[in-house]
């Protein structure tokens, strides 16, 4: 089932954006208020609750011992899943993750994996035999646009909050903080008519032609990108997005580190 929006409201939003205005008065490349609360979920090894405007996401980290992948026998395993549960939107349905949930999980996963956020070598217990498997589970409770960033930033904050539960296993020593090497921040832009908007709300996503997620690390390098929806970006558009992603990424990164009470990695 699709989100319903009337033709006149669509026209109005397009007109407004053409004039350089947004429905909530933000500048085109301005972010909404972002609240990050790490450690809200007791049973999880790490967690973070994210409120981005009215979008509300919880990310939990669980760890178990398992087998390393054959091609990386000396590394731990990272796996990301997302559930768009029907609580979050009248248009989400029960059942196994659909295309949107799968894309969301993979985009978040890509940023963390390619950005080498976690030092997975430190998660190997016995080469080729035993390693920690890290499950990143994204639970969307309320959907008001930009799930990519809410989930990606939530995953980052949850990883920074995580502890490896080594003491629960025999002969593995004490618990230790999950080793984090980089802090990757995704930022998502949409294109509506000829304007580029950062951090779109649901109403804006309903009329968006195209979407671009850019994930950057603390060195300002790009570690993952994803273009979505059927519209297009020009090469110049992507340059503009990357430039803004680096700036806002720096601010958001500091915020994530501040709430995690961690120094710069």
């Amino acid at each position: 089932m699709k989100e319903i929006i009337s033709n006149i409201t669509k026209d109005y939003l397009n007109r407004l954006i053409k004039e350089g205005k947004r429905i909530d008065g933000r500048d085109m490349l301005e972010y909404r208020d972002l609240e990050i609360e790490p450690g809200t979920i007791g049973p999880a090894e790490g967690s973070a609750e994210i409120r981005l405007g009215d979008t509300h996401v919880i990310v939990g980290i669980k760890m178990e011992l398992g087998e390393p992948y054959p091609d990386t026998p000396d590394k731990g395993v990272l796996t990301t899943s997302a559930e768009l549960i029907p609580m979050a939107s009248p248009h989400y349905e029960s059942g196994p993750p659909g295309k949107d949930a799968t894309e969301l999980a993979r985009v978040v996963d890509r940023g963390i994996r390619e950005g080498e956020v976690v030092d997975t070598k430190d998660l190997c217990v016995e080469e080729g035999e035993k390693a920690w498997v890290i499950f990143i589970d994204i639970h969307v409770l309320d959907f008001d646009g930009n799930l990519m960033d809410a989930s990606g930033i939530g995953a980052m904050a949850a990883l920074l909050d995580a502890t490896v539960p080594a003491s629960e296993e025999e002969e593995l020593g004490d618990d230790y903080e999950l080793p984090i090497e980089h802090v990757v921040i995704p930022t998502t832009f949409t294109k509506i008519k000829d304007q580029i908007l950062l951090d779109s709300r649901l109403e804006e996503e309903k009329v968006a032609d195209a979407r671009l997620t850019v994930s950057t690390n603390e060195e300002g390098n790009i570690v993952a990108m994803q273009k979505g929806l059927s519209g297009v970006f020009s090469y110049e558009d992507t340059q503009e997005c990357i430039k803004r992603s680096k700036e806002i990424g720096e601010e958001l990164r500091q915020k994530v580190l501040d709430v995690s009470e961690k120094d710069k990695v």
């Binding site: 809200t40 979920i41 007791g42 049973p43 999880a44 967690s47 009215d54 509300h56 919880i58 939990g60 980290i61 669980k62 178990e64 899943s81 559930e83 549960i85 029907p86 609580m87 979050a88 939107s89 009248p90 029960s94 196994p96 993750p97 499950f135 589970d137 639970h139 409770l141 309320d142 959907f143 008001d144």
Partner: protein, 256 residues
């Protein structure tokens, strides 16, 4: 119920977490916490954290599942992967399907379902953190979410459990008490009439112990009922002076 291999009550009669035999874990409820849902509520009960959302009444899909005489109440109980010490695989298992079914039936009783033929009232119960008693906390918070959604009901349902640990009947089993205790009786109560809409039991109880347990649980449900109402009053208590209520006189539902 697990076998007894752990002391659950100390010499002073105090339980592992310092509670008396007839004491509930701390409970706080907040109504109207989500934007998209038609109604919602969040409950913090001991170490349980549960969110409930209501959508509806809305058109039932698939069509052949519609009931031309009433709304179908569909409660879905789901545990987040990170809600328990060992990660839960996402998706329904036999336990959550059963709980969803009995909670749907419990809620159906208080909802005026005949007012909305062919429709569904969806109740989503998401367990974010689980620590014994999630079905009771889930039913309690779902009732608040239903009120918040403006669903017509004859009452709310308050729910909690009583059980037996170390041979003694106690209220509201905590996690270890649930694992190592001897019996658990979760109930759902319609406080206005003291009728039971949910009742399960597992373990081993004498008839007298059952009666003690029910007395404890039913009393506690009335306390929980107050907390449910407080949460809703807090959300809606308002100065309503600005409003104009236009009303069309219309017959209500007459019932025996």
């Amino acid at each position: 119920m697990g076998s007894k291999d752990m002391d659950l009550i100390d010499e002073d009669g105090k339980r592992l977490d310092g509670r008396e035999y007839d004491e509930l874990r701390p409970i706080s409820i907040e109504a109207g916490v989500l934007k998209r849902a038609d109604g919602s509520a969040f409950i913090n009960w001991g170490k349980n954290k549960i969110m409930a959302a209501v959508y509806g009444p809305r058109e039932m899909h698939p069509r052949h599942a519609q009931d031309p005489s009433k709304a179908v109440v569909q409660a879905r109980y789901n545990m987040a992967a990170f809600s328990v010490p060992d990660r839960k695989r996402p998706g329904p298992d036999r336990r959550s399907v059963e709980i969803g079914k009995i909670l749907s039936e419990a809620l159906d009783e208080i909802i005026f379902v005949e007012q909305y033929p062919r429709s569904t009232i969806d109740v989503f119960i998401e367990v974010l953190e689980a620590s014994a008693g999630t079905r009771c906390a889930g039913l309690t918070v779902a009732s608040v979410a239903l009120s918040d959604a403006g669903i017509p009901m004859s009452d709310m349902i308050a729910s909690c459990a009583a059980g037996k640990i170390d041979g003694q009947v106690v209220l509201d089993l905590g996690k270890n008490e649930d694992n190592y205790g001897q019996a658990d009786v979760p109930i759902g109560l319609v406080p206005r009439t003291d009728e039971l809409t949910l009742l399960q039991m597992d373990g081993d109880l004498t008839e007298e112990e059952y009666e003690q347990a029910m007395e404890l649980a039913m009393d506690a449900c009335h306390d929980i009922y107050k907390k449910q109402k407080d949460a809703l009053r807090e959300r809606y208590s308002t100065d309503l002076e600005e409003q104009e209520f236009e009303e069309i006189p219309q017959e209500g539902i007459e019932e025996g």
